[in-house]
């Protein structure tokens, strides 16, 4: 059989019922575009999360004081643990070979005032190593040095949001702000970092020397966390083991057989976990969208059954002039596949368009995955084939005499 010519004639029959054909395709179109859009949104979210983790560095370890418990996806520290000390930071930097650099962190939300403007912001007491550990860079002025920390200077480095809130665009360097009641001189401004994994604004922070913070602002002698950068990503596990061993030793937990009074959060593990979570999520929404592809297939099934009833006479004629049952079967399977492919192509177009609209209409990151496009298209072709076989078989089994007699 000359398939190309047969298809040309089939196409005319499909085109003759434009509305019906369009309706038959709607299911497939919606299915394919839904898969593409959903997976694009899922991928976008994944990449955003991963890029945030990677921006912090995959060789980053965070030691939190106390047992960190995750509830509803948020980290919570139970109670106040006062055992983590500045001396621990120095010991880690000195004794752990897999640790490149470590910085203490003690932070709290405090009211900060400049003139008659005030803002509630996170005040972070740390050391100059913080810049290296967390990839924070100075935009203007300077970060405080070790000497300034040792001298407990009242120097502050502001995040961009704080500058915006208090100075409304003016240059803050050299000005004096009050943190609680303590006056601080502004010596630098940080580069903008955006929001972190938990959605907190990383620019809504001010950094002050840890010694000044403990003594003058927080009035405590312990620290809440230690940020550590390992020598490289491969040394992460070793670094975790070394830090854990050292802290247990220093806090005398081994002798008393007590559980850890700290929790080490490993960015590399977090990365893997997040990737798995978002992959699962993407697969989930992808498979929900696939259900609409299946529904679309049933649309094709219905339309093919109607078409065959309506074209019974044509089928009889084709048989009379020499079409074998196999020829009739082939023709209708191909017609159904054309519907599937046609719906797939329109769906891809609308899906990509939809993803672009979502991209610019919302603040969501949207990444169109070529795999999902190929998958959705292949699936629509398969659905067309699958749901085309049954009607095609029915057509091929018609009795030519009765078919010719029908109107």
């Amino acid at each position: 059989m000359n398939i190309a010519r047969s298809i040309r004639i089939s196409r005319k029959q499909l085109a003759a019922h434009k509305l019906r054909t369009a309706l038959a395709l709607t299911g497939i179109v919606i299915g394919v575009s839904a898969v593409i859009i959903m997976v694009a949104i899922g991928n976008g979210a994944q990449q955003e999360v991963l890029s945030k983790i990677e921006a912090m560095g995959t060789d980053l370890l965070i030691v939190n004081a106390g047992q960190v418990q995750k509830s509803a996806g948020r980290q919570q520290i139970r109670g106040t643990v006062t055992t983590l000390a500045l001396a621990d930071v120095e010991a880690i930097a000195r004794e752990c070979s897999a640790v490149k650099v470590a910085a203490p962190v003690q932070s709290k939300k405090i009211q900060v005032k400049y003139g008659n403007l005030s803002t509630n912001t996170t005040v972070v007491g740390t050391t100059t190593e913080f810049q290296e550990v967390r990839n924070f860079r100075i935009a203007a002025g300077a970060f405080f040095t070790d000497d300034e920390n040792l001298a407990s200077r009242r120097a502050a480095v502001l995040g961009q949001s704080v500058v915006n809130n208090l100075f409304e665009g003016r240059n803050p360097i050299g000005e004096t702000i009050r943190v609680g009641r303590v006056p601080f001189e502004i010596i630098g401004v940080m580069e903008s970092k955006g929001v972190d994994l938990n959605g907190a604004d990383q620019d809504d922070q001010i950094f002050i020397p840890i010694r000044t913070a403990l003594r003058r602002v927080f009035n405590v002698s312990y620290i809440g966390a230690i940020n550590i950068r390992a020598t490289n990503t491969q040394a992460m596990r070793q670094a975790v083991a070394q830090v854990s061993e050292l802290l247990r030793d220093r806090h005398r937990l081994n002798k008393q057989q007590k559980p850890d009074d700290f929790t080490i959060q490993n960015q590399a593990d977090l990365l893997v976990a997040q990737r798995e979570t978002t992959n699962t999520f993407t697969m989930l929404i992808g498979s929900i969208a696939s259900i609409s592809l299946l529904v679309g297939g049933i649309g094709i099934l219905a339309i093919m059954l109607i078409a065959i009833r309506e074209r019974t006479n044509e089928i009889g004629l084709r048989m009379a002039v020499g079409a074998s049952r196999k020829d009739i079967m082939t023709q209708f399977v191909i017609e159904a596949s054309i519907l599937g492919v046609g719906g797939g192509l329109v769906g891809i177009f609308l899906g990509v368009l939809g993803a672009v609209v979502v991209r610019f209409g919302t603040s969501w990151a949207v990444t169109i995955s070529p795999n999902s496009v190929a998958l959705a298209f292949g699936f629509s072709l398969l659905v067309g084939l699958f749901f085309g076989v049954y009607p095609a078989r029915r057509a091929s089994l018609l009795d030519p005499i009765e078919a010719l007699r029908s109107e």
Binding site: K12, Q13, A320, V321, A323, K326, L404
Partner: protein, 250 residues
């Protein structure tokens, strides 16, 4: 080579076989159609003439009996093989034309060739349309053609594979008398050029155009005679409307 295009021996078609009400649509029919013949199968509706045509045309299989088409026994062929036989050796013309709507004359005529192994499809289809006098209607859709023209497209479709035999089932049933005569004239022309034609009809006037008339009643052949004086469709047309028809036929 056998001179009989069709040789049917003791053909029978029995519906509801083995059931209570057996119906013998065709009973013990033996018939031969020679090459170059123009035969009419005549009978009232329900006489079994259509069933006989379907069997002879390989659309239906006889319950019993032997049917040789062009020397080949076809009563035992599979559906696939019968499709090949229909495609190569048989052309059909139906009462209701059975043209594909929204498909132009050329493509309608190409249809049988799609299922053949022929390659120069368009040229053959064009040639067939020329032979029925529709060279200037090649790209017209059926809805743009008169009934007579539509039936001529259908005849071109039957001719395009150069079949051994053409079966015409009430080809004038849906046509006015003038168009009917045109179609009968066309069949006579084709037969004069050597084409074997079997005409199935219940109208004696139409059957009179054939050179042999086979009468069927109750599934049996009741008479089979040479028609000594076939009507000549072209003469009838001149008598009907001399100027107009002469002009139209050029």
């Amino acid at each position: 080579m056998n001179n009989n295009v069709i040789q049917g021996t003791n053909l029978a078609k029995i519906y509801n076989k083995g059931g209570g009400g057996e119906v013998g649509a065709v009973q013990n029919v033996s018939v031969e159609i020679r090459r170059g013949e123009y035969a009419a199968i005549m009978g009232a509706s329900g006489s079994g003439k259509s069933t006989l045509m379907n069997i002879l045309g390989c659309l239906d299989k006889p319950t019993s009996g032997s049917l040789k088409l062009d020397g080949i026994e076809v009563s035992t062929l599979t559906d696939e093989e019968l499709a090949r036989v229909r495609n190569k050796k048989i052309g059909f013309v139906f009462q209701s034309f059975n043209l594909l709507a929204r498909t132009n004359a050329l493509e309608n005529v190409e249809l049988p060739l799609i299922y053949s192994d022929k390659t120069d499809i368009s040229r053959l289809a064009r040639h067939a349309l020329e032979s029925v006098g529709l060279a200037d209607r090649v790209h017209h859709n059926p809805s743009e053609l008169s009934g007579g023209q539509q039936q001529r497209v259908a005849i071109a479709r039957a001719l395009v594979t150069d079949p051994e035999i053409i079966f015409a089932d009430e080809p004038t049933g849906n046509l006015d008398s003038k168009s009917s005569l045109e179609i009968m004239a066309l069949f006579q022309q084709l037969n004069e050029k050597g084409r074997t034609i079997v005409l199935v009809t219940h109208e004696p006037d139409i059957a009179q155009h054939a050179r042999r008339i086979i009468q069927i009643a109750d599934g049996r052949i009741v008479s089979d005679e040479v028609n000594p004086n076939p009507r000549v469709a072209e003469q009838e047309m001149s008598a009907l409307l001399p100027k107009e028809v002469a002009h139209e036929n050029r």
